[in-house]
């Protein structure tokens, strides 16, 4: 490797093996935490789903009442799983794109500890009855502050590594990563400061909270997932991204319309119509970045001669991208005036949320975890286990999303007739809620199989150091007893 005289002080390009090695423990720590919260979150999801069709189940314990379990489930998935997995992927992608070792790895460990502690404390606070009352931000301010602090340390490592990169031009994934990393702390500040810490007057609190909730999906999780896809797609297809310009266009339109679509969550609510209108219009315009991304995906992966689409991440990327398009389309459909009359305030929105969170973001992040874990450990997952995970996830997500979306149509149609009592309308949803419980259970099973494989790889990778530690212990014990023998004890 030639060193450039005018680059004195700048790190030189480093080999891929060294980069992977430098990322190993920081990234795996975040992935392990993410998978732990994914499993716990899905368990909370199964439990809360059971309570929707079996309301007497475990009803005498306030810690697991439905109104606390459900926000616990969502917050654990958003902050414990998705945010942590996104950060782990971001660190690895940044190091690989910068072609240098991951810098400030120590900050990642500290940040990871804080992030996980914040989620744990936040969950306990929600189950103890201290929820803020606002969706996707039920974790009280203390837990949220710790989570954001942990996030900042990790983001610092990522951004500093990027700053010291040897490659001046930024690949498109880096755009999405920088965008997402910058948006997260803004969103948390706006949401928490204006709705919880120093609340605005009246319904403006809901506007601030909706801004955070919507922003977390479109300005934080979506860019991180798209960054991952844009990085992995060339690896998996062996072809370059079809159009960097389309990708950049998709980035700018996503940031712009994602930021403005916040108040679409309050459609039909007690806010002036123009606020809803601005949000809903921006939500419709989200079809633009989705179209840019989808066309890039299709033209990269499917156009031209049939190239091999191999690599462990491919099914995750495919399913996740399909889910992204479906998610935005269903979300937009729910805001059209006709459908909104029947679908708003029904479980339809729950289905759309799960499609975005689990179907789109979740699957792509899991694909990233698979691919990156194999790279940093220089090992391979057993393919049958991954197949089981993908299959179970697919089936489970379709059951959950399908159940909720269809139940929205059914319940909405019944509620549109004022003569039908509310209880009748809600009881007609029982089979769909049952399907959702089954779906969540199936997803959970699939992830358990994956976590078993992940743990196995980790144990294998640490076998040498664990054996070394064991023999060190044995040596200490032997020399200890040897000394005693010589002393005639």
């Amino acid at each position: 490797m030639a060193s450039h005289a005018h680059d004195i002080g700048k790190p030189e390009r480093v080999s891929v093996e060294l980069i992977n090695q430098s990322c190993r423990w920081p990234v795996l720590m975040l992935f392990a935490g993410a998978l732990l919260w994914l499993v716990l979150g899905l368990l909370l999801g199964v439990l809360s789903s059971v309570k929707m069709h079996a309301p007497a189940f475990w009803a005498n314990c306030e810690w697991v009442t439905f109104g606390r379990l459900r926000p616990g489930f969502i917050n654990v998935l958003v902050y414990g799983f998705a945010t942590q997995a996104a950060l782990g992927s971001a660190l690895w992608i940044v190091a690989r794109l910068s072609r240098i070792e991951l810098l400030l790895g120590g900050l990642v460990f500290a940040g990871g500890l804080l992030l996980n502690a914040g989620v744990a404390v936040g969950l306990l606070q929600i189950l103890a009855g201290q929820s803020t009352g606002y969706a996707w931000m039920e974790i009280p301010r203390q837990g949220a502050a710790v989570i954001t602090a942990g996030y900042l340390l990790i983001a610092l490592s990522a951004l500093y590594t990027l700053h010291r990169r040897t490659e001046k031009e930024l690949y498109i994934s880096a755009w999405f990563l920088v965008g997402g990393l910058l948006a997260f702390p803004w969103l948390m500040s706006i949401g928490y400061l204006l709705a919880v810490v120093n609340p605005l007057r009246g319904v403006m609190q809901s506007v601030a909270a909706a801004y955070l909730q919507n922003g977390l999906m479109h300005l934080w999780l979506t860019p991180m997932a798209l960054a991952l896809t844009y990085y992995l797609l060339p690896k998996v297809t062996g072809r370059e991204i079809h159009s960097n310009q389309a990708a950049a266009f998709g980035f700018w339109t996503l940031i712009l319309f994602g930021a403005w679509s916040g108040t679409s969550l309050l459609a039909g609510g007690p806010v002036p119509r123009w606020i809803e209108g601005a949000g809903v219009s921006a939500k419709w315009l989200l079809i633009v970045p989705v179209a840019a991304y989808a066309s890039n995906f299709i033209l990269t992966a499917f156009a031209g001669k049939r190239g091999a689409r191999s690599g462990i991440a491919w099914p995750f990327l495919l399913f996740g991208s399909l889910a992204y398009v479906a998610f935005i389309l269903l979300d937009i459909y729910g805001t059209f005036q006709g459908p909104a009359r029947t679908l708003s305030l029904t479980p339809y929105s729950m289905g759309v949320t799960q499609l975005g969170l689990l179907g789109f973001v979740g699957m792509i992040l899991l694909g990233g975890i698979c691919h990156i874990t194999e790279k940093v450990l220089d090992a391979e997952f057993r393919r049958p286990a991954i197949l089981v995970q993908i299959l179970f996830s697919l089936v489970g997500i379709l059951m959950v999303v399908g159940g909720y979306v269809v139940s929205g149509f059914v319940s909405g149609a019944k509620l549109a007739d004022p003569a039908i009592p509310f209880v009748t309308a809600s009881r007609s949803l029982l089979p769909f809620f049952g399907m959702a419980t089954l779906g969540f259970s199936v997803i959970l099973l699939g992830q358990l199989v994956f976590v078993a494989g992940f743990t196995k790889l980790l144990l294998h990778a640490t076998a040498d150091s664990r054996a070394g530690f064991c023999s060190w212990c044995c040596d200490k014990i032997e020399t200890g007893s040897g000394k005693k023998a010589r002393a005639g004890v």
């Binding site: 929707m52 009855g129 910058l182 929105s349 509620l415």
Partner: protein, 220 residues
């Protein structure tokens, strides 16, 4: 070219402009609302919530009632809320002036509660509904809130206390609501948002002619 500053500026601009458009501008419009002058509301509308009712609001938040119930009435063009008797008019920003947190709700697994104080003002019915919803609404999917109540064994000839739920347990025991349950019921009974307002009139009812934003001129 180092594109990071460009991306930073772009993200900042998107968030700053949307923050201005969706938060600052509305704040100047509805964040400055004051209590409205409405007949029968001596201290203005909305009526400040005090005592047991404000404690009950905390219980409502702590138990996540917002996960199943909404506190917003939609207009006639947007849904059948009014036809269902969930309110006489849609709710507007004025109705939530004194709320914190504002728990509009996003899904109706249970009915809307904005005006439940009008529909159901009997404390005993509300308490029984919390203890076991199936006692009051057959087929209801609402969870039981048993932990808001204490089941006590009656000692000897002791009679059931005044607050106890009658008839809902085997002889020799009584179900007594805890303070949280009583506060929650007081909160539910305070939930009424049907005062006719300038921006949200009720058909057939006279409203005060001033809008909520303009100060009232003193009459001669």
């Amino acid at each position: 070219m180092n594109q990071i500053p460009l991306i930073f500026l772009g993200v900042f601009a998107a968030i700053a402009t949307s923050f201005w458009g969706l938060l600052i501008v509305p704040q100047s419009q509805i964040g400055q609302l004051e209590s409205a002058r409405v007949d029968n509301y001596l201290s203005g509308y909305p009526r400040p919530r005090t005592g047991l009712a404000s404690q009950g609001a905390e219980t409502y938040r702590a138990n996540g009632c917002v996960e199943c119930h909404t506190l917003q009435v939609r207009s006639k063009t947007q849904g059948t809320d009014i036809q269902r008797g969930w309110g006489t008019r849609r709710t507007i920003a004025q109705d939530y002036l004194l709320e914190s947190p504002v728990q509009l709700g996003s899904v109706r697994l249970g009915p809307d509660l904005t005006n439940v104080g009008r529909r159901q003002s009997d404390s005993l019915t509300l308490l029984r509904k919390l203890y076991n919803p199936r006692l009051v609404s057959e087929g209801s999917l609402m969870p039981r809130y048993e932990y808001l109540f204490t089941k006590r064994k009656l000692v000897g000839d002791e009679r059931a206390s005044k607050d106890a739920l009658p008839r809902d347990t085997e002889p020799g025991y009584e179900i007594v609501p805890k303070p949280e349950a009583i506060a929650l019921v007081a909160y539910l009974q305070s939930l009424v948002s049907d005062a006719p307002l300038f921006s949200a009139p009720v058909l057939g009812v006279k409203t005060n002619r001033t809008s909520t934003a303009a100060p009232a001129k003193p009459s001669k």
